[in-house]
Symmetry: C2
Subunit: 289 residues, 2 copies
């Protein structure tokens, strides 16, 4: 474990990612105090019972009070709620402290962080995004090993690192995650392609099939692995994706438009050699993975 000065951590949002972060800290040997807060009393109670946090704040105000004493504050709520918390935290935190987040989109958060936390007397802000998750959320699914082998991206707006930021990066490494720094806008564009587009596509396909077939038994009878795989993400809840769509609208729209055009190209070439070229490109993409 890192030999550092981090003694108190506050986790805002003790769902799957937040509670897993607490468990991963303990598993990596963190011996300090972990406070937690979640708007859902079920989530914060579950996180406390499983040992992901030592104590749950009883209210958002109590969480703000804990924030003033924390070395590191981890924001593990949806993206728009992360931005709200950044605004609320700014007046009560200061130099020497670190705020970091795990939000799925990074440009808006990174820009807000630069405007709120760039002065000498403010806390440091490190925008982060662990590429880990499950089909469903919630503290009950949390695991200390969730980040083991996963990629944990950072999109810092400055090249300087505060000591507490360096220490947090060490802890993330001790979780078993690999880390990579990238530009926030580039992050959002890439995530639109590899994560948000597959999600919207799967949702659109499942919604289309639901509209067309409803509870007709035939789809269940003859649909096989191809259908299951391409619609699996259709189970993802809107609550997790609303903020992603709101804060990465342009890049997601670009990828959707590109796919619409590509599907039209396939449709217009079902009987021409262009279809062979399309399969060859797709084969090459898969051979690289």
């Amino acid at each position: 474990m890192p030999a550092g000065t981090m003694e108190r951590v506050l986790i805002i949002g003790t769902g799957l990612i937040g509670a897993s972060t607490g468990l991963a800290l303990r598993s990596a040997g963190f011996a300090g105090r972990i406070d937690g807060w979640d708007v859902s009393s079920l989530e914060r109670t579950a996180a406390a019972q499983m040992g992901a946090i030592d104590a749950a704040a009883a209210s958002a105000e109590e969480a703000l009070a804990a924030a003033s004493k924390a070395d590191v504050i981890v924001l593990a709520v949806p993206v728009l709620a992360i931005k709200d918390w950044m605004q609320r935290l700014a007046p009560v935190v200061g130099s020497g402290q670190l705020i970091t987040d795990v939000g799925s989109t990074k440009l808006e958060i990174t820009e807000l962080g630069r405007s709120l936390f760039s002065a000498a007397d403010t806390a440091a802000f490190l925008p982060g995004h662990p590429m880990a998750g499950k089909e469903s959320g919630g503290a009950m699914l949390a695991e200390a090993r969730l980040f083991n082998g996963a990629m944990w991206l950072f999109t810092p707006s400055t090249s300087e690192s505060s000591p507490m930021e360096k220490e947090w990066r060490d802890w993330v490494g001790f979780f078993g995650a690999r880390t990579l720094d990238m530009d926030a806008a580039r992050h959002d564009e890439l995530c639109a392609w590899v994560s948000h587009l597959p999600q919207m596509l799967s949702t659109a396909l499942a919604a289309l099939l639901e509209d067309k077939f409803g509870d007709a038994p035939e789809i269940g009878a003859i649909g096989a692995r191809a259908l299951r795989e391409t619609t699996r993400l259709g189970a993802s809840p809107y609550s997790m994706w609303r903020d992603v769509a709101m804060t990465n609208t342009g890049p997601i729209a670009d990828t959707l438009f590109a796919l619409e055009q590509r599907l039209a190209h396939v449709r217009e070439n079902l009987r021409t050699p262009e279809l062979r070229d399309e399969f060859a490109l797709a084969n090459r993409f898969r051979q690289r993975r």
Copy 2:
């Protein structure tokens, strides 16, 4: 095992499905003779070595000679090749014999079967489609249990069954497959939705990403399960899908067009409550499965 009169089976096309059919027959207790033919000498030799067939014909002409003596002829080649074989077989087979196929599209095959095999002195024809397969083809991947628990669809054009057809249906049941009869046009429309659309979609997405990112390392670094699942079918070979696209063009084009429109709807509503409705529909579709 069925107590019947089927003593000789000929399998045309000893790849994954054809060789698995031979193995499944043996595993279910079939004690008669199984001949096989494949244009690829590697495939037919492999099928013979693994016991899926007793002997491989040395040429297409020899296979035609074997056909004249077979009780059941299983056509396990791509759809256009199935149609070719139906034409070649018509003059050499006759009443009492059964031709059945395993092609992925059924309307063209069923209509050709009706025109070739409806008279009193012709062989019977039973169009079939086992919903089983693997990512790759070939005899080397064949398994006796491939059809166990799978759906084996039939699209007969008449409601009458010849004795040999009834016996073949019994064998399919002994393979562990469930069977369902449906109209050929309906089959092709449903398969367009649950199989061909997911394939074309996955191919288009993988081809688009290959065009856009090529060998850029970032996609590999941050792409996770969502990307892997939605592009997995992109590895499917054109050789398997060309005939499907050629013989089910209209229904596939309809599904692609519907999905294009649905993606545009999602794209135009990334920031409106319509997106919530889309997720709700998709959630409902998944809850049924």
